[in-house]
């Protein structure tokens, strides 16, 4: 089965054509870079997304700190992940890229600050 999809890795949005056999991507056409190949495989076998959200701070110069997962997490976990993020409080100064949670939800991904907060 050939499935058409749009790569969401970057704003270029390459049109991908993925040949699927037994729930595996066996041939991928249209990808402009290796990220597109990886996206097609993931989208067929285990769709995942980078989570971006905000974390409440206490006593710092911005009220909400934007965060992201360093790697995509399973798409089906997104809603639970947003609820988990809401439970976190950041009380110390951080720089963009610093870790907020080293093993977020036990998924093996880091939750990192995307903005510096002091």
């Amino acid at each position: 089965m050939i499935k058409k999809m749009t790569c969401i890795e970057c704003p270029r949005g390459c049109s991908l054509s993925v040949d699927i056999e037994n729930c595996k991507a066996v041939k991928i056409g249209g990808a402009g870079c290796p990220k597109g190949m990886a996206y097609a495989i993931s989208e067929v076998e285990d769709p995942s997304r980078i989570l971006t959200a905000t974390v409440m701070t206490e006593g710092l110069d911005i009220k909400f700190l934007p965060v992201r997962t360093d790697k995509p997490i399973p798409k089906k976990e997104l809603f639970r992940a947003v609820e988990e993020v809401k439970k976190i409080r950041v009380k110390n100064a951080l720089r963009a890229g610093d870790t907020v949670d080293n093993n977020f939800m036990g998924l093996g991904v880091r939750l990192v600050a995307t903005r510096s907060v002091g």
């Binding site: 749009t6 890795e9 970057c10 704003p11 971006t52 911005i62 909400f64 995307t114």
Partner: protein, 325 residues
């Protein structure tokens, strides 16, 4: 009056790139005025990914993209950043008047770069009839409320227009627990990027109505419902296709328009249709020595392009300053 070689108005991606490029070209007396309390501009509220693939060959969030430049600004002596500084006046002789808490200041510049970005087109610009209740926000304002202030000012949302900010807000509000009832687009295709339709709309099964428009907004104190109608190829209403959607919030996402009141005040020629400066080349205005870059010159799709064109503006301004006695 204080004198400066170069004054830059706006500390978003355009203003930061322009000041760093001017600094690299040898200008050492630079004042950057930013009205907010932080550098980074609108990138700070764009917490989603998708920035920097062209410029940094990495996929960054808005705040991360901004942070790269904020860190560089700290290592460039000669660039003075003045925050909470609101520019109220610009003259053709390049005198800038700005307000800072507790003071009114004037500075005379050899060259000026305007990096004031753009603003959102409003309900009034697309003529949506009906009442004027609370609960109607531009998509970018909604983005600021949710991402910077931590507020979710609505539960049942309809998004008017399918611009990228609207699509991204559809996902954000859905993840935060609101119900996005519909996205309404008068054209037959999205105004935003396909990737945003995939990851923000299709991922969450949000209904996207093409060839539809809002006929009327209802509600006294708060938005209560809207009526939609289908339109034909010439965007004329098709009678009998009306239907209602109950909602408490409307987000307007119908495009952006450059913000150029200051150069207009200085007497620069402006194209009234696009609100862009009329000029013989990119980043120029009809007044020598006053440059415009980034989204205030024209609205770009990607911040990476804003950075590149603003770097060019910084270099152009440096060349101009060398020729000024």
């Amino acid at each position: 009056m204080k004198r400066r070689d170069l004054v830059i108005v706006g500390g978003g991606p355009a203003g930061m790139a322009a000041s760093l490029a001017a600094h690299k070209s040898g200008v050492r007396d630079i004042l950057l005025l930013e009205r907010d309390q932080y550098l980074g501009g609108i990138l700070n509220q764009c917490i989603h990914t998708g920035f920097g693939i062209d410029y940094f060959k990495e996929i960054l969030t808005g705040p991360e993209y901004a942070d790269r430049f904020i860190q560089k600004m700290k290592t460039a002596p000669g660039i003075e950043v003045s925050l909470s500084s609101f520019v109220a006046r610009l003259t053709k002789d390049k005198v800038i008047t700005y307000l800072k808490p507790g003071s009114l200041n004037e500075v005379h510049a050899k060259a000026v770069i305007m990096a004031t970005g753009c603003r959102e087109r409003t309900r009034e610009m697309v003529h949506i009839p009906g009442t004027r209740p609370s609960g109607i926000f531009s998509a970018g304002l909604a983005q600021k409320l949710i991402n910077i202030e931590g507020l979710l000012p609505g539960k049942d949302v309809v998004i008017i227009g399918s611009g990228d900010i609207g699509l991204i807000m559809a996902r954000r509000w859905t993840l935060e627990g609101a119900r996005v009832r519909a996205i309404v687009e008068i054209q037959d295709k999205t105004r935003g990027l396909t990737r945003n339709v995939v990851q923000c709309v299709e991922d969450f099964d949000i209904p996207l109505y093409f060839n539809h428009k809002v006929l009327k907004i209802f509600g006294k104190d708060r938005v209560e419902k809207i009526t939609l109608i289908k339109v034909d190829e010439s965007m004329k209403d098709i009678k009998g296709t009306e239907f209602d959607i109950e909602c408490d919030t409307l987000l307007i996402s119908v495009g952006l328009i450059p913000e150029n009141e200051l150069i207009e005040m200085a007497g620069a020629e402006i194209d009234k249709r696009t609100n862009s400066p009329v000029s013989k080349d990119v980043n120029m205005t009809s007044i020598p020595g006053i440059f415009v870059c980034g989204n205030s010159f024209k609205v770009y799709d990607y911040v990476d392009s804003v950075t590149r064109d603003s770097e060019l503006a910084g270099t152009q301004a440096a060349e101009y300053i060398k020729g000024v006695k």
